[in-house]
Point group: C2
Chain length 374, copies 2
C-alpha cells in the first residue's frame, strides 16, 4: 500500500485513458464509476455488495452528512469509512451543489453560502474553508473544492461570475486543505457552456497544480451534445497526468462518450435511483420492470451476468416486487444497475488497454439498440 495519492496512466486509445489512482485506502481503476452513497449508504445496498459489484470508490454528499448525522459526530465515531463500513476510497463533494438544489433560504456571498436545512430548518454556513473542514472531519480520500454551480441555460455574465467566484474559492480551499500527501483536493472547472469561460477556468485551475480536476455544472438538463462539446473544449487544458472527473454523469451512453473524450471518473444517482423505480440498464438497453409484458416472463434479466440479481430471479418475480412496492424489488434492481455500470466500466478499461475502444463502443451501442432478445 502506498502512503501517497498518485495517478498512473496505464494505457490510452485516442483521447481515452485507463489508469489507476492509488492512495493509502486502495486503488481506483479508471475509468471509474462511483456509486452515490448520499447519507453514508448506497441506498438499498449492503456495503460489501457495492464492493463485490466492482466499485473501488463511493461518493458521499457533504450537504447531507453535515446536516445528519453531522461532520463532527462522524469524526468522533472514527470517520466516514468506519461509520458506513466502507474501508475503501471515498470521494466527498463540497456540498455546494446540494445547497443550491435542496436547502432553503440560500444566501450566497463572496464569503460562502448561508442556508437553512431542508430537514429541520436549522441555519448553516458553508464557506470554502468550512467545506474542506467538513470533508477533513469525514476523512474522505478525495475532497472537492466548494464551487458555484449555475443552472443551465443561463446568461454568459452569470456563468462568468460564478466561474470566477469558483476560482477564488478554489484558492481558499487549497490553502485550507494544505499538504496532505495521502489525500487529494480536486478543483472544479465551471463556466456554463461558454467555451472561453471553460478554457479560462481550466487554465487557472491547472496553474494551481491540484491533484485532480472535475468538470462541474454539466448534466443539469442541457442536451448531450452541449455536454460533450464542453468536455472537448476543456480537455486539452487539463493536465494529462491528473485524473479528470465529470460530476453527476450519467447514462451509460453519456459515460461511454465522455470516456472517449478523456474523462476518468464519474458519479451519478441514475443506476440507484432508477433501480428503486423499476428501471434497469442492461446490455440490451433500458427496461422498465413495471411493464406488464414482464408479468409472466420466467427469464432472468441477463443469464450471462455475474450478478445474482440479474441471473437468479425471473422477470415475472421482479415485476411482481416492483408492482407490490416491495423493498426486495428496489434492492435487486439497484444491484442489477450497479452491476451493469461496473461491467461497462470494466469493459471500457479493457478496451482502452487493448486499443479497441472504437469497436467496443460500436458493439455496446449495437447491443443497446438491438434490445432484449424476445
Amino acid at each position: 500500500m502506498t502512503s501517497e495519492f498518485s495517478f498512473h496512466l496505464l494505457g490510452r486509445d485516442r483521447a481515452a485513458r485507463t489508469g489507476e489512482i492509488r492512495m493509502p485506502r486502495g486503488t481506483i481503476r479508471t475509468p471509474a464509476f462511483m456509486p452515490v452513497g448520499t447519507a453514508a449508504t448506497v441506498k438499498g445496498m449492503y456495503p460489501e455488495q457495492v464492493r463485490q459489484l466492482g466499485a473501488d470508490v463511493v461518493l458521499g454528499n457533504t450537504y447531507h452528512l453535515m446536516l445528519r448525522p453531522g461532520a463532527e459526530r462522524v469524526a468522533r465515531l472514527g470517520g466516514l469509512h468506519r461509520f458506513m463500513n466502507w474501508p475503501h476510497p471515498i470521494l466527498t463533494d463540497s456540498g455546494g451543489f446540494q445547497v443550491m438544489s435542496l436547502a432553503n433560504l440560500r444566501k450566497l456571498t463572496e464569503e460562502g453560502v448561508t442556508f437553512r436545512s431542508h430537514i429541520d430548518g436549522s441555519k448553516h454556513v458553508l464557506s470554502p474553508e468550512r467545506s474542506v473542514e467538513i470533508q477533513n472531519l469525514l476523512g474522505s480520500d478525495i475532497v472537492m473544492q466548494l464551487d458555484e454551480c449555475v443552472s443551465l441555460p443561463c446568461e454568459d455574465k452569470v456563468a462568468e461570475k460564478a466561474m470566477r467566484l469558483s476560482l477564488r474559492w478554489a484558492e481558499r480551499c487549497k490553502t485550507a486543505f494544505g499538504t496532505q500527501p495521502g489525500r487529494a483536493l480536486f478543483g472544479i472547472v465551471q463556466g456554463g457552456i461558454v467555451p472561453r469561460l471553460r478554457v479560462e477556468s481550466a487554465r487557472e485551475l491547472a496553474a494551481m497544480d491540484l491533484k485532480g480536476y472535475a468538470i462541474g455544472g454539466l448534466a443539469v438538463g442541457e442536451p448531450q451534445a452541449d455536454m460533450l462539446a464542453t468536455i472537448e473544449v476543456v480537455e486539452p487544458h487539463l493536465p494529462q497526468e491528473k485524473p479528470r472527473y465529470l460530476m453527476g454523469v450519467g447514462t451509460p451512453d453519456d459515460i461511454v462518450q465522455a470516456v472517449c473524450r478523456g474523462v476518468d471518473m464519474f458519479d451519478c444517482v441514475m443506476p440507484t435511483r432508477a433501480g428503486r423505480h423499476g428501471q434497469i440498464f442492461t446490455r440490451f438497453g433500458r427496461m422498465n420492470l413495471k411493464n406488464a409484458r414482464h408479468a409472466e416472463d420466467p427469464r432472468p434479466i441477463d443469464p450471462e451476468s455475474s450478478c445474482p440479481a440479474a441471473n437468479g430471479y425471473s422477470r415475472a418475480y421482479l415485476h411482481h416486487l416492483v408492482k407490490a412496492e416491495e423493498m426486495l424489488g428496489k434492492m435487486l434492481l439497484t444491484c442489477v444497475n450497479l452491476a451493469y455500470y461496473q461491467e461497462l466500466m470494466a469493459g471500457l478499461r479493457a478496451a482502452i488497454a487493448e486499443g479497441r475502444l472504437a469497436d467496443f463502443v460500436v458493439q455496446t451501442r449495437e447491443g443497446w439498440e438491438r434490445g432484449d432478445p424476445a
Copy 2:
C-alpha cells in the same frame, strides 16, 4: 430426502417438545419460527439471508398472493418456491384472516366469503375449496384450512358459531385436499377464549386425523394470560404425535411461554415489522434505535451475535440510518430481529433436548430484564 410428510418427536421437557417435521422439500426443526413472507418476499431480506439466519420454513399469505400476482400466475411460473427463490418448505395460510382484516365489503356465508380487493376493488370469492385450490396452485408444503376468526372480546355465541362453521369448513378442506402424501393440511382450533368451545373444536379436529393442528384466533389483542390459558386448555386434546402451530404469535416471551406449553410452530410479523420501524429484539431485551442515546454509541448491537447486522455495524450508524429512513436501516434491523428469533428457537430446541428448559427460560428472561450492559 423423504417422499412423505411426517413429524418426529425427538425430545420432551415437561409439556415442551422438540422434533422434526420432514417433507420432500426439507426438514423443519421444531420448535420453529416461520418468518412471514406476505407477498412472496420476507420484507427487506434476500431469500438466502433468511435461510442463513436459520429459517427452515417461511409463511406466505394466500390473501395477498391470490390478489397479486394471482395463484394461477404463480402456478404457471412453476409455483411459489421457484417464484420467490425459496426451495425450502413453505406454509401458506388460508387467506381467511386477512380477508377479515384487510378486504372491503366482506360477506360471509356457509359457502365461504366474498370480498373486494384492498388493492384494486376487484371481487373475489374464498371458499374452503377455493382456499385449498389456491394453496395447491401456490404449491405450499403446509396448507391451512379456511376458518372464521372472530375478534376478541366477543360473545360466547359468536365464538361458538364461528368455531362450528370452521369445523364444517375443515371437513370441506379435507375433502378438497384429498390424499397428498408429501404435503400436509392443518386444521385450526377456534372457540375464542371459551374453554368448552376450544375443547370441542380440538376434539372434533383431532377426530378428522389431519397432519397437524393450529391454534387460531389468539394474539388478537387479548392479555397474554388469556392466550396461555387457552393453550393449556387445548393442548391435552391435541394428538401428541402431530405438530401444533400457534398462529400469529408473537413476542419472544409469548413464544417461550407457548413452547413451554407444548407448541411447536410459530409465525409473526413482529421481528420484520418492528425492524422496519427501528425496534429490535435482543438477548438484552428490546431496544429502539431511534432513541437519541444511540446517536454516538460506537458499539455493535451484540458483539457475540453471529449475525453481521448485529455484530458489524455501530449503534450510531444504525441510529443514523433509522433517522434518515434509509432502506439499509430497515434491512439490517430486520436481520437483527430474525437472527435473534432464530437464535432463541435454537436455544429452546437444545434446552428441551437436554432437559434444561426451565433453566433456559429463567436465564433468557433474566437477560431481557437485566437490559443492555451500558
